[in-house]
Point group: C2
Chain length 240, copies 2
């Protein structure tokens, strides 16, 4: 198991600084993406098209950040030839920013649904679910980033576990909204906007879970993707 200061113990002060900067750039990108998700949800539930437009605009900055951090990773790999836990950090960062960028994309998609809803009028249902599931995936994203900052595999595990709850609540919200559409076909188009936004929130939960899995790899060197929550918990327990 490695600790969060493991990457600043090199003889080269410059290398220490580069690794610190890499980490802090990821957290900076994470902060941007958290704001995007928050604003996208807000723009939808408040029917605030100006806010939704700003989410669409700001997605560009998230993309720029992804490309720039990827360049940083490639440079460190080429010039520093990191090994062991340093290499793991760089690989984790490279995967994590892909997920962060996708979370940003989903926020942009939610903002687009928000804009359509300000044009067509509010949907008759689904806002409670958007708020509720929205709160949960925002929390998951922020917890996954905290777990990354602190190399905290146990918190990361909790994020992955929470994704299952979100998936269940998403399915139940979907069933309800489909039933509602059948009863009120005139609202189909607007309810679909809500459904797409919910789908994006559910995807954000998936990406937060991915980041959490990267953090477990970073901390313990064990790739826990695709092995199921039970085995994942066993691995984290065993390493404690």
């Amino acid at each position: 198991m490695i600790k969060k200061d493991a990457h600043t113990q090199h003889i080269s002060k410059k290398f220490n600084k580069e690794m610190e900067e890499l980490k802090s750039h990821v957290l900076e990108m994470g902060g941007m993406v958290e704001t995007q998700v928050h604003d996208a949800i807000q723009s939808l539930v408040e029917a605030d098209s100006a806010l939704a437009e700003s989410v669409k605009r700001n997605d560009k900055s998230v993309n720029v950040m992804e490309v720039s951090i990827d360049e940083e990773c490639a440079k460190i790999l080429a010039l520093r030839q990191p090994a062991a836990s340093d290499l793991r950090l760089v690989l984790t960062v490279s995967k994590t920013i892909t997920d962060l960028e996708r979370i940003g994309d989903e926020a942009e998609k939610i903002a687009k649904q928000a804009i359509q809803l300000t044009e067509s009028g509010q949907a008759p249902r689904g806002y409670v679910e958007i708020r509720h599931i929205g709160e949960q995936v925002k929390r998951m994203t922020s917890d996954a980033l905290d777990a990354f900052a602190r190399f905290d595999a146990e918190s990361a595990l909790a994020v992955a576990q929470k994704d299952k709850v979100v998936d269940m609540e998403y399915s139940s919200a979907m069933r309800e909204l489909v039933t509602f559409m059948m009863e009120d076909p005139r609202s189909i188009s607007r309810v679909l906007n809500i459904i797409w936004a919910l789908r994006s929130l559910e995807r954000i939960g998936d990406h937060a879970r991915n980041i959490a899995e990267h953090v477990i790899y970073l901390t313990y060197g064990k790739d826990v993707r695709h092995i199921g929550l039970k085995k994942m918990a066993e691995h984290v327990e065993a390493k404690k």
Copy 2:
């Protein structure tokens, strides 16, 4: 610009072999994923639940392949400390397999819709669109993998350009299906199964485009994500 034999010119024959194997594992995983997409579409349009079940089962092999290729990449980075175009190949592989795995996930989602449709009865609309858009994203996936195998940035550019066509056709199919649901609310649930499958196909197109962008990076060292098709075409033209 690098050519496809650039990674087999090392003094170390073992390193040459490792790089060749890495490439061929990606293509093997690509072949698996292509089959998954093909079978998923087939299971949906033919209402073949046995085939759909086999797609769900086979997704596990795709996941295993992703984890194993990622380990290969980490090993090469740690032991060979590759530079320049070798490093680019490893980074490209690492990103490409993430997209391949996601394509596999989308195929699995299509198979799940197929199973629901064999239970609830065929949808009244949408099969023509599934076939048509399905053919296109299958072709895009296979062309992106060919471009990877041949380090062919021009073919990769063509894949990215085709994604725009698919997105337009997807939007037009969606509008039609929403209109149909309003006219025939009893079919909402089944038409939604088709809509989810179409959404998955559209996502497969996005991932094929991502792979194409990785190939352009691999060939020219230029990161062309998020810069738009026009600029991407200019870069590829300039390097020809």
